[in-house]
């Protein structure tokens, strides 16, 4: 151990020096530039979504700068972001957060991709009293720690599939049936985030008095659902809920078709990142999917315009349609810009208080944080695949199409 002591001392000294050097509360605002920091997964298993996150941040920064930047205390500032690659590993994410704060003197952090990484970084930003506005950590565990500097613009995990169960209950009532007669099968991956989704689903099943007939926890190295689907075929549930990141929808549709397992409603998460329409074409029809955001929604703001404007600008810039991960990431930057302007100061405590008081409309939806830092103003939306397109079917306020329920059996398609 003694072997490492000189090194440890040196690191500590360097950290202290850099803290002193970057000094006071107005650190990392040099000249007319405010620098935000982010550790994002550019390599490793989250690299696709990590890129979506970065592209979202970058587009928002670019647009804000083009429009003259952020006015703080009568002076205009440009935004910039310092990025690091967290390699999709939580330990690395935490290290990089320390580095952003201690070495680079960053005082405002943007979140990484995924709940796992956010969970690793939040204790660090909290320790240094640095605000983090995150857009990709939805796990409800994040908001039970009493964090004061964590703000999330997205809907949290337990709300993911709420609308699907509400919709099924509505449909049952409309058909003159009691929602209590509905049977639900649940197949959700056995990782932190997905199990948070499951906890929400179980609560909603209880709330509607539905019957839970299958409750499988899919292993993370998930490569086959045959056993679960055999159960589903035998028990004939009205709703099958699958959530296992991008693997879930791909595997569920592939195997349900192969095994010809039919359910009136297949409700899933992560359909857009799994690209089910491109992959399965007609076989993806009738699938119902939860999403944080959709370009067809009528939200708007005066920086990025409407949801559709954002989608178009994004396509022009990056040559692919923005998944919701990109949209929510862009929204996180808007939240910072708004908070800086309202705080009129760069003191982290003041910026934090301004963030906590956020109440704004964005192209991504309304944003208002509760005491735990989660956004309570924006609902999840529910799509259904209809004629090869995602159509919003719930909540009814935003719906652009009527849900097709029950979905026909495979044999009748």
């Amino acid at each position: 151990m003694t072997y490492f002591k000189p090194l440890a001392t040196a690191v500590a000294a360097a950290a202290t020096v850099s803290l002193l050097a970057s000094g006071s509360a107005s650190a990392k605002v040099e000249g007319d530039t405010i620098t935000l920091g982010a550790a994002v997964s550019l390599t490793g298993k989250y690299s696709t979504n990590g890129k979506n996150t970065k592209d979202g941040y970058d587009l928002a920064v670019k647009r804000i700068n083009e429009m003259g930047g952020v006015k703080v205390g009568g002076k205009s500032y440009k935004l910039a972001i310092t990025y690091y690659d967290d390699e999709s590993t939580p330990a690395r994410g935490a290290q990089l957060a320390e580095r952003l704060i201690n070495q680079d003197g960053v005082k405002y952090v943007l979140g990484p991709y995924s709940s796992g990484l956010t969970k690793a970084i939040a204790p660090v930003t909290e320790k240094y009293g640095v605000p983090m506005v995150e857009a990709n950590g939805a796990s409800r565990g994040l908001f039970a720690q009493g964090y004061k500097y964590l703000f999330a613009v997205l809907s949290t995990s337990e709300q993911y599939l709420q609308e699907a169960l509400n919709l099924a209950a509505e449909q049952a009532k409309a058909a003159g049936k009691d929602p209590k007669t509905l049977k639900v099968a649940v197949a959700i991956e056995n990782d932190n985030f997905s199990q948070d989704v499951r906890a929400g689903v179980i609560d909603d099943i209880k709330r509607h008095g539905m019957q839970l007939v299958v409750d499988d926890k899919l292993p993370p190295e998930l490569n086959d659902m045959a056993a679960t689907l055999t159960k589903v075929r035998a028990l004939k549930p009205d709703i099958l809920i699958v959530s296992a990141h991008a693997k879930g929808p791909a595997l569920a549709i592939r195997q349900m078709k192969d095994m010809q397992v039919s359910v009136p409603m297949l409700a899933m998460t992560h359909c857009d990142s799994a690209k089910i329409i491109e992959k399965f074409g007609k076989d993806a029809e009738y699938a119902v999917c939860a999403s944080q955001w959709d370009r067809a929604l009528s939200y708007k703001d005066n920086v990025l315009g409407s949801a559709e404007d954002f989608a178009k600008a994004f396509e022009k810039e990056y040559d692919y349609a923005p998944p919701y991960q990109a949209a929510e990431s862009a929204a996180a930057v808007l939240v910072y810009a708004d908070a800086f302007a309202r705080a009129g100061d760069f003191d982290t405590a003041k910026v934090r208080d301004a963030l906590a008081a956020t109440d704004m409309q964005t192209f991504y939806g309304n944003i208002k944080f509760d005491a735990t830092g989660k956004n309570t103003a924006k609902p999840m939306v529910l799509y259904q695949v209809q004629d090869g397109k995602f159509k919003v079917v719930a909540p009814s306020k935003w719906a652009s199409a009527k849900v097709n329920y029950p979905a026909p059996a495979w044999a009748d398609r």
Binding site: T43, D216, D224, K231, Q260
Partner: protein, 299 residues
């Protein structure tokens, strides 16, 4: 145990589970062949086995996207992986082949990480799948379904097994491989080019995995990180079946698939893997006890 009740009320379900399990096991058996071959001949436990399967899947996927019939992807994947296996032998494996088992474990472990990350870089982390265009067979009034692609995988496993067996028994190279497996030094003295034998064996293993990967992408899904599941299962199959007995490898593979599927049904998907590994421990303990008895007897 409501799942158990269900099985008693509808015994037909066990037919479904058995069929699915056996057909799943066929793909595991395929990857396990290759592992047994490399292990037996070169004394290397190839941790990158699953990565070969994954790469085979991507080759088949891109072959199909280039306009080939999905089934042609199987031989194409095997051929491409054969070449890659050969190249990897020449670049890395030949340096560790006569060394301690730990060195080759580390080398192939490193290889597996490298291939994973390269695949992630080249193919992205997206989940991919390929439609075989095949349908479904209905049995017992539609109570039992068998997807045709799984059946193809099963037949392909058996056919490949037979081909491999014939190759090892009849061809000169096959005989050289068997001779090297029995006694590398004696084989060398008799004029067998051990280096070539090793290269062929390793490339052959990669080709078999490639074919398995082509079947995986048509039956399930692939992504850069799926390797481990196949490595671990082939390892287990080989441990149970022993080296140098292809028939036992196939039987163990099919058995493993069926056991896993039943465990998934009865205990829930979360215990599927746990059950299989508990089974491995039980088998190893049992085998150890039996070996101990034999040793006593010999004394």
């Amino acid at each position: 145990m409501s799942s158990l009740d269900l099985l008693f009320q509808a015994p037909i379900l066990s037919v479904q589970l058995l069929i699915d399990g056996i057909l799943i096991g066929a793909v595991f058996a395929l990857a396990a062949y290759g592992m047994a071959l490399v292990w037996g001949v070169m004394n290397i436990i190839n941790i990158a086995q699953g990565e070969f399967v994954m790469l085979g899947g991507y080759v088949a996927l891109y072959a199909a996207q280039a306009g080939l019939h999905p089934f042609l992807g199987i031989p194409v994947a095997a051929a491409v992986m054969f070449v890659l296996g050969w190249a990897l032998y020449r670049a890395v494996i030949f340096r560790v082949v006569d060394k301690d088992l730990f060195i080759s474990l580390l080398a192939t472990f490193g290889l597996s990480i490298l291939l994973q990350q390269l695949a992630n870089e080249v193919f992205s982390a997206d989940v991919r799948t390929l439609s075989s265009g095949l349908g479904t067979i209905f049995l017992f009034d539609g109570m039992v379904t068998v997807s045709e692609i799984k059946l193809v995988a099963f037949v392909a496993t058996l056919a490949l097994g037979v081909c491999l067996l014939l190759f090892l028994k009849k061809s000169r190279m096959g005989q050289a491989i068997r001779a090297t497996a029995q006694d590398a030094r004696a084989a060398r003295i008799l004029g067998i080019d051990a280096d070539r034998v090793y290269a062929t064996t390793f490339a052959l293993n990669a080709a078999i995995c490639g074919a398995a990967g082509a079947l995986v992408v048509m039956t399930w899904i692939i992504h850069p990180y799926l390797g481990l599941a196949y490595t671990v299962r082939s390892f287990m199959i080989v441990v149970v079946a022993g080296l140098g007995n292809l028939g036992a490898v196939v039987a163990a593979g099919l058995g493993l698939g069926a056991a896993e599927n039943f465990a998934g049904f009865l205990l829930g998907a979360e215990y599927q893997a746990a059950f299989v590994f508990s089974l491995l421990v039980v088998i190893l303990v049992y085998r150890n006890i039996r070996l101990g008895r034999q040793r006593k007897y010999l004394k």
